[in-house]
Structure formats: C-alpha cells, structure tokens
C-alpha cells in the first residue's frame, strides 16, 4: 500500500526507563567486552547528551515541535522516499568512525573526525524549518556556526561557493539503491551564505546527538532556505569557484533552483508556497514568511537579485 497509516515508532512504545536502560545495558556489555564492534555501532546510534547552552539570540516565538515528530517524519531519500521510512530504517547507518574531508580552494585542507567537532564549543539554537512541501517545524538544534569550521581550513579568495556531499552507504541505505537521485546527495551554498552566522554545522537536536534519521552525525542547517538545502550526514566539504549543481537541480531542473530561499511569492510549480502547515496541525494555517522569518538577517545577501528568477 502506498500510504500505510504510519506505524508507532518503537521508541514511543517502549517505556522511557526501559529505553534508557538499553543504553546502560549496551555500555555494560561493551565494557565487559562481549558486544564487540556491533555493540559499539549500536551504542553510537543512541543519543548522547550534549553540553550546549541555549543561545538566547536565536529563539522562535512558536513552541518547538514535539521531538517524536522531528525524529519521526523526515525527507531523507537515502532511506526511501516515504517520510516515515528514515525513522524505520536509519538505525542501520554506521556513524562511527566518521570523518569530513574538507578541501578545495583552501590553504590548509584537512580531514576532521566527528569527535573533534563534538569537542568544539557547541550551542543550542531554536530555528524554524520550512520544507518545500509546505509543512514546517520548530527545532532546537545543537551545533556551531559553519564559519568556525571553515576557519580551520582558511578558504582562499578564489572560493566562491561551498559544496556539501552526503554519505552513501549502499548496504545500510536502501534508498541509494534506487535511481531517484543521482547519488551522492549534493548541496551547495554561495560562500557568503555558508559563512553567514545563521548557517549551523549541526550535531544534535533536543540537547542530544542527532538521531540517524535527522542526518547523524553531522549536517548543515540553513534556516532561511527550504529544508532540502540543508544536507544531512556530511562526509565532504569543498570550497569551489563554480556554482555546484545540487542533487535536486539535477533531478528536476524545472522545479528546483540553486537558491531555494523560502519565499511566499514564488510558488513551487505544483503547489502554492503562500502558507504552510505547522505540524501536526491539520490546516495550513501559518502564512509563510519571506526567508522563513529571517529576512532581517539575510535579505541583504540578495540585494539587487531577482528572486523570482533565482529561485
């Protein structure tokens, strides 16, 4: 059946105490040396608390969307095209060891491990998320400004764009065996967009490390653009001179442009973007804001540009 009524996520059925105990059980098993590498992989997929104070400069007046919706309803085509697919199958993704290769037009290219990113000063920011499919959420992310990571590699003045490449694990990602997207998933930002303080290198949500279905262990969050611009499970970051061609630009060029800024005045060819449905509401009751409510911070990046053409 194409539209099953969504199953209840296992974490909702299991009592919280039992669920948490699973973690101590795994820890104990790993300590006893009986779990081996399988135990480590499983332990890595279970959320760990992050030390990240909330940054009061980045809050949203609407209440955050319930965690189980944030982690249960995702567009992550590597795990299938259904939005309940990632929750069901992302547990298998291997997130340790994990490195990001950072290179291109930089003075000091390097490969950085997820452990090192987690050691950098993290903060919590509450951002709006607006999906191109006209639904929205409010999510407390944990991460650091992308420009802090960029500073480690010293981009040269020739770098005009940043290209983000997501992981492909054929064995654990059933969606990558389909031809829906030209894998790997690639996204890009203009250098000034990438270096903007709102652009967050994200390692967690709701105070814990990212669940796999949300793009573990590290992803980008660009809150003034439609959600698909924020690449998940990043393995490679390149500073480049030419505008990168994103996965969706390749898949449906007539519908997805490079910029993809949230814009109520530019409809998707197949549906209106004027309003949005703040999940889990039934009605599309919220008026979509230009730049998803971040116009004050980012509108100047696009001064003089025709945003109807540069969609």
């Amino acid at each position: 059946m194409p539209t099953p009524i969504p199953p209840i996520p296992p974490s909702e059925i299991t009592p919280q105490a039992t669920y948490l105990n699973r973690r101590s059980f795994l820890a104990a098993a790993a300590a006893a040396g009986v779990a081996g590498s399988a135990g480590d992989a499983a332990a890595a997929s279970i959320a760990d608390k992050l030390n990240a104070p909330r940054n009061p400069a980045y809050v949203v007046k609407d209440p955050p969307t319930a965690r189980k919706l944030v982690t249960g309803y995702n567009n992550f085509y590597e795990f299938g095209t259904g939005k309940y697919d990632p929750m069901a199958s992302a547990d298998a993704m291997i997130t340790r060891p994990w490195t990001i290769e950072i290179g291109g037009l930089v003075e000091t290219p390097r490969t950085i491990g997820i452990e090192d990113i987690l050691k950098m000063p993290l903060e919590e920011r509450v951002y709006r998320l607006r999906c191109v499919e006209a639904w929205s959420m409010v999510i407390p992310w944990v991460g650091l400004e992308f420009n802090k990571l960029a500073a480690l590699v010293n981009p040269t003045s020739a770098a005009k764009y940043v290209k983000f490449t997501s992981a492909v694990q054929k064995e654990t990602m059933p969606g990558t065996r389909l031809n829906v997207i030209d894998w790997p998933y690639v996204e890009g930002l203009r250098i000034d967009e990438a270096m903007h303080p709102l652009t967050l290198l994200t390692v967690g949500l709701y105070g814990e490390t990212l669940p796999n279905q949300n793009g573990a262990p590290v992803r980008i969050v660009v809150p003034w653009k439609y959600g698909f611009k924020s690449g998940k499970s990043i393995v490679k970051i390149e500073f480049v001179a030419e505008q990168p061609k994103s996965a969706w630009m390749k898949a449906i060029p007539g519908e997805y442009g490079f910029y993809s800024n949230v814009n109520p005045a530019v409809d998707h060819p197949r549906w209106s973007q004027k309003s949005e449905r703040p999940l889990p509401a039934l009605f599309a009751s919220r008026q979509t804001e230009p730049f998803n409510g971040y116009a004050e911070q980012v509108a100047s990046l696009y001064a003089g540009m025709d945003l109807k053409k540069n969609y």
């Binding site: 009524i5 969504p6 919706l69 639904w135 060819p269 197949r270 449905r277 039934l282 009605f283 599309a284």
Partner: protein, 223 residues
C-alpha cells in the same frame, strides 16, 4: 442494475432465500470492509490523532486518494473477472464499488479544500486552473459525479439501457485522469503511479482486445 432481468431469466435465483444466496450474504461484508479505511481516519481525527502520524492532513489526503483509485480499479475489474471466470454474480458488486470510489474521491477533495486551501473559494478555483495535477484530479471527480447520480435502478430505466451504458463509459476517462493525477503529483518516485498505471492498462487493454478480436464467435455465443 439489471437484477430484475436476470431474475426473469433465472427464476430459481429469486426463490433462493437470502441466507443461501452468496451474493446477498457477501454484500454487507464488502460494504463494511470498504468503510474500514474511512473508519480508521475518523478514529484518528477524533480519538487518536497520533495514529495519523506527524502530518495528519497529508495522511488523510493520501489514504482517501489511494482508496478512490483502488475502488475505481476494482470497479473496472468486474467485467473482465466476469468474462474470464463466468461468475455473473460479480456484476452485483459493481455499483457498490463504483460508489465507494466516488465516496473516497469526495472525501479526498474535501480534505484538499479544507486542509490545503483553508476553504478559500477563490484560491481553490485558481489552484484548479493553474496546476495540471489538480486540474485532472478535479476533472476525474467531476466526471464521476453523473455516474454516481445515475447509478440507481430508476436512472437506468429512465435513460434506457443503451444510453445509460454509453454514459457510464465515462468511467474510462475517470480512471485514466485519476492515475495521471497521481503520476503528476509525486515528486520523484513514480513506483506506485507505474503500478496503478499498469493495472489500469491491463484492465482497459482487455476491453480493447475484446472489441478487436473476431466478432462472429461472440455473436454466436450471445444468440
């Protein structure tokens, strides 16, 4: 439905008590089974919202749209089933299946009007005009409406069997438009539209084949 004519030809069928008539026994079962998807949605809306997932409006739109298509294809499967198996009782379910296609189609449209369009009449007209996948979906439901209205025995008699049959051939464009509607709305993964399209092509292809094959044999059989 031509049940009176059937009864006249086969008087034995009329005299069978209802508890020994498999068709009459099965009808209420099929009716209740056909209501199960709608019942689950109602239960979700009024009793257990979490059962409808993170995006309840989307779940309602998808489930009602899926079932409108399922019932359309089931309706179109009746005649081939009857011809291939010789089981004439199948025809007794056709009206019910067709009306359920219309029922789920109306719910599907109602969900779109309420949840996507916030009941804004001007926005709805504009949306139907502007977006091809909405246009064909709306056209499909619109063409189904006269079929639902004239589905009663009274209307068959009023129109006459031949005219009624011609009118009800509208079900073919209705089904084609329904599948096209689904095909055009999916973002990238066309697996399911292809499956529906294939089933529809087989059901319509069977009819074309029936028309095109040599006729004398059929004429003799009918005589």
């Amino acid at each position: 439905m031509a049940s009176s004519a059937t009864a006249a030809r086969r008087p034995a069928a009329r005299s069978a008590p209802w508890w020994r008539d498999p068709v009459r026994l099965a009808k209420p079962v099929v009716f209740l089974a056909a209501l199960v998807p709608a019942g689950r949605l109602l239960h979700g809306v009024f009793v257990d919202p979490e059962a409808l997932g993170a995006n309840p409006a989307e779940t309602i739109e998808h489930v009602t749209g899926d079932w409108a298509l399922h019932f359309l294809l089931l309706t179109l499967a009746v005649t081939p089933l009857r011809r291939l198996t010789g089981w004439n009782g199948a025809i007794k379910f056709r009206r019910m299946l067709g009306l359920f296609a219309f029922f789920y189609g109306v719910l599907h449209m109602a969900a779109y009007v309420a949840f996507d369009m916030n009941l804004d009449a001007a926005a709805i007209v504009k949306d139907i005009w502007k977006r091809p996948f909405v246009t064909v979906g709306f056209a499909s439901l619109l063409l189904m409406t006269p079929l639902a209205i004239t589905s009663t025995r009274g209307w068959v008699l009023r129109l006459g069997g031949a005219a009624w049959s011609r009118l009800h051939q509208l079900v073919y464009p209705v089904a084609i438009l329904g599948v096209v509607h689904y095909w055009w709305l999916v973002k990238r993964d066309i697996t399911w539209p292809v499956i529906y399209g294939t089933v529809l092509a087989v059901l319509l292809g069977y009819r074309v084949w029936q028309r095109l094959r040599p006729r004398p044999a059929r004429a003799r059989a009918g005589a």
